[in-house]
């Protein structure tokens, strides 16, 4: 790599907690820098949250209006709250997501394509799915200012943890109007030329 200018692209600042209105201008494919609180939740965490949502009729742990980050960090290291933290595959949470967006989750952060049900739920509730780069976890960890265990410490890396982010680099995966970067890529519509898309 010759220099950083070769790989840098302008990013839109996003600050959590965010309202649906404040996310409405984002477009699938946009580069963003994410700041503010997010809550880590993976497979086991989702099962717990949804069970409590079904039991109580509301999101536990004051998660309404907040953002879920599909991530299971490594322990603290190098003076940072997590040595490495990056997105896990979002599609594994798809079965839970529409109910969580309906209950008040405003944004999610993960990696990879999602179901048509999640896309529809993003449109219905004005929610956004952000994509962070899988495999860039040491870099992403430098954008985490603090970590605080909120619930389920017995789940280890799957505990519900509140992270304070500072300009974590990401992209808009699904915007609140239903545009989906993965669909754009799969159909070849987004390519500089010569690609036939994954449907071929």
């Amino acid at each position: 790599m010759k220099d950083d200018r070769h790989t840098d692209i302008p990013a839109t600042e996003v600050r959590f907690p965010a309202s649906a209105e404040s996310l409405a201008h984002l477009k699938a494919g946009d580069a963003v820098a994410l700041s503010g609180p997010v809550f880590t939740a993976r497979d086991a965490t989702h099962a717990r949250i949804v069970a409590e949502l079904e039991r109580d009729g509301m999101l536990p742990h004051r998660l309404a209006g907040q953002t879920l980050f599909y991530a299971g960090p490594t322990p603290p290291a190098a003076g940072r709250p997590a040595g490495a933290v990056g997105p896990t595959t979002a599609s594994r949470m798809d079965v839970f997501t529409p109910a969580l967006l309906a209950a008040g989750i405003v944004a999610t952060i993960g990696k990879g394509p999602r179901s048509t049900e999640v896309r529809a739920a993003c449109v219905e509730h004005g929610a956004v799915y952000f994509v962070a780069v899988g495999g860039a976890a040491a870099l992403l960890a430098t954008h985490v200012l603090s970590a605080e265990v909120i619930a389920y410490p017995e789940l280890g890396t799957e505990a519900l943890v509140r992270f304070e982010l500072d300009r974590l680099p990401a992209f808009v995966g699904i915007d609140s109007h239903g545009a989906d970067i993965y669909e754009t890529v799969a159909t070849g519509a987004d390519q500089p030329g010569g690609h036939r898309g994954v449907s071929a």
Partner: protein, 279 residues
Amino acid sequence: MVGSADIAAAVREAIPRAAVELRPDILAAMEAAVERERSPRARAVLGQLVRNAAIAGDDRVPICQDTGYVWVLIEVGADQCVCGDLQEAVDAAVADAYTSAGLRASLARDAFTDRENTGFNTPAFLDIVTRPGPGVTVHMMLKGGGSDNASALRMLAPGEGEEGVRRFVLEAVAAKAASACPPLVVGVGVGSTFDKVGMLAKKALLRPVGEPHPDSHVAVFEAELLDEVNGLGIGPGGLGGDTTALAVHVLTAPAHIAALPVAVNVGCCAVRSASIEIR
């Protein structure tokens, strides 16, 4: 004679280094890809991955938060004795390495009956095979869940031939690459048996990227398949671009006259492995 303690010591030493130092062949391939990429977004993703490798190496933190399950392939040379409880020794080495190096424990006690985290990233997954020559070779890989989930296996009919293999690999990559942390190293196993072809595909990930297959016919097949995989346009991070994979590596083997087993084992942009010779 090689003892289980010698093998466990090799694994113990290799784990923390593999977790924080990106393989030089992978880094070189990624840096070359930055120069070739036409999509600014793809260059931005690759730029993040290159910077990530530098941060991980400098600060001694994991390249990826999914520090994987531990796969250990032990190749035992002719006339070589290996003694001791390998599973117990290697598990102790894994538990010690993961705890002291601050790596993530990512193993459920049982896939079906008990999904509780074992807490020490144990057990390790061991394969023991024989090979000609002296000594013992220990291959060690930290394999992430997201990329392993993108793997696939099919028993083709021999008549489907090379074209069938090509089509199956492309289908498998097209279906799952976007969630498997591209740019990928695509491991392909062709031959052997239903249970062994998956290991062939995984073993193919051990070969350094940029080192051609020794058989020129297979080398050409790999190069053509890499072009086709990259023609899918899935790109780094699955966000579009020219670099869906850094390499396609194929390992072939004998098979039953009725069989053409094919497996794809996907390596993510943080393929982490080491190979150690013990004499």
